[in-house]
């Protein structure tokens, strides 16, 4: 079961720190927090599914933790829930960012992110990336750009000085484009492509993915599972399992391929969480 109301009471998570891994193995189940974002981790017909869920099920399953329970929370509740011990890990493809590393521990990179724009079919305003949006805006064209409230693209737009509309969720972002309230919706390429595929009737298309540069620095994003600080044993065990999957394109796509992931999303072997945490990703 996955909805919170079915929880017996208190938190379902095991106590943090030493011995946690063993405790989870003994229990045979683990609780991961998700934010309900397709195609990473979400619920369909009340059942958790998605790419990171598939990863979690495979990796934890191989460790002997057969059951992966999910708790669906608001994006902003993922990390507080983890520190408050309301979950054992966060499986939502959260980006590894330097400021985050000080307050929680990421696994090794699981997903490489690129950005894309969703536009109406035929891309009437001829937009290709955020720089093109900026150019046209500066040229006085009336371009409305939607971003997810609190999303990483909101940060990009802010750095570029773009006027934006915030939307509460991805679905709404697509609706705004479909209805013409916005001309483009910036988000990760994976999410946009997945949504566009799921909704063939919607009057939307997705641009080629791009890597946004801010002040000349390419913003390479990589997502990972998050563990509470101190759960080193658990995280290392997870990383071991993850390494077996990210070993080759083949093993990687066997797990996440069905959720629209491609080779592009496979993290390069030499990219480490430490580097990303220091803010010096390899080009």
């Amino acid at each position: 079961g996955s909805t919170t109301t079915e929880q017996p009471g208190g938190s379902a998570a095991a106590p943090a720190g030493e011995g946690k891994l063993q405790a989870l193995k003994d229990k045979g189940s683990i609780t991961v927090a998700i934010a309900g974002e397709a195609p990473y981790s979400y619920e369909e017909n009340g059942e958790p599914t998605g790419a990171t869920i598939a990863l979690a099920k495979k990796i934890f399953g191989d460790m002997g933790i057969k059951e992966v329970n999910t708790v669906l929370v608001d994006w902003n509740g993922l990390i507080p829930g983890l520190t408050a011990n309301r979950s054992d890990a966060v499986s939502a493809g959260m980006s590894i960012l330097p400021e985050r590393c000080a307050n929680a521990d990421f696994s090794d990179p699981e997903i490489m992110y690129t950005t894309a724009l969703m536009t109406q079919k035929g891309n009437p305003k001829g937009l290709s990336d955020l720089d093109s949006v900026k150019e046209k805006m500066d040229a006085g064209e009336d371009i409305k750009l939607a971003v997810l409230a609190g999303g990483i693209e909101a940060g990009y737009a802010d750095s570029l000085g773009l006027e934006v509309q915030s939307v509460p969720d991805a679905q709404t972002g697509m609706d705004t484009v479909d209805n013409g309230r916005a001309d483009a919706f910036a988000m990760t390429a994976i999410s946009l492509n997945f949504m566009a595929d799921e909704n063939p009737d919607a009057n939307v298309e997705v641009t080629e993915a791009f890597v946004q540069e801010i002040d000349g620095v390419p913003q390479i994003g990589a997502g990972a599972t998050v563990f509470a600080q101190g759960d080193d044993e658990l995280r290392e065990a997870y990383n071991e399992g993850l390494a077996k999957i990210t070993e080759s394109e083949e093993t990687y796509l066997a797990v996440v391929g069905e959720y629209g992931f491609t080779a592009e999303n496979l993290p390069p072997k030499d990219l480490t969480t430490e580097e990303l945490c220091e803010g010096t990703p390899a080009p």
Binding site: T5, Q7, G10, G77, P80, G81, A84, R86, Q171
Partner: protein, 242 residues
Amino acid sequence: MDEKFAALGEAMPRLLDGILVTVQLTVLGGLAAFALSVALGLAATHPSKAARIPARIVIEFFRGTSLVVQLFWLFYVLPLLGMDLHPLLVGVIGLGLNYGAYGAEVVRGSINSVSTGQWEATTALSMGAAQRMYRVIFPQAWALMIPSLNNLLIHLMKGTAIVSFITIADFTYHLDQLKRVTDTVFAYGVVGLLSYFVIALVLTFLMNTLERRAKRKLGQGITVKSILSPAPTVGSPAGGAI
């Protein structure tokens, strides 16, 4: 339209679960808020400063900050201090604290608006402080406070719509799911708002009945029409707001 109702039928068990959660939160939160209202309200009218000042601080604190922030703290920060509560319990406590602080003002105002003559009569009859409150003042203040408490209860019921924020799958949460398979106007507009309205009307009816009983005990009449009327009382002892 048919397919929407089909979707509604399919979602019905979950929607009913959601309504049950919402009603649970409303009733339990309401009871918690009421208990707190009385405790804080009595403390706030107490002659001793040692009782009054802490009560005032608690009241002002919980009235002055937002329910969303309070829920966040209770849900995510309390566990760090070693208090690990079930989400539903967090919801009940959060609603209870926030609306209880407002309710305390209602209780305080109602107690203060029992006429000074009644207070003086208890002195003239040598009644003790507890006896005075329990047997004379509170029963009269009770009739005065019900309409305002009803307003607060409706507010509390409306406030429960935010609890999906702390992972509770309440009615609004399931409306969001329904929206995905039908559309917004149908899910929020027709199903959602109407259901909430019915819950609010039922609550109001119950509270009006309570008020009628209380007033009858005081020998005051109250019409059937006023029981059915959902209009709020303003210029309440709390000063009107909320």
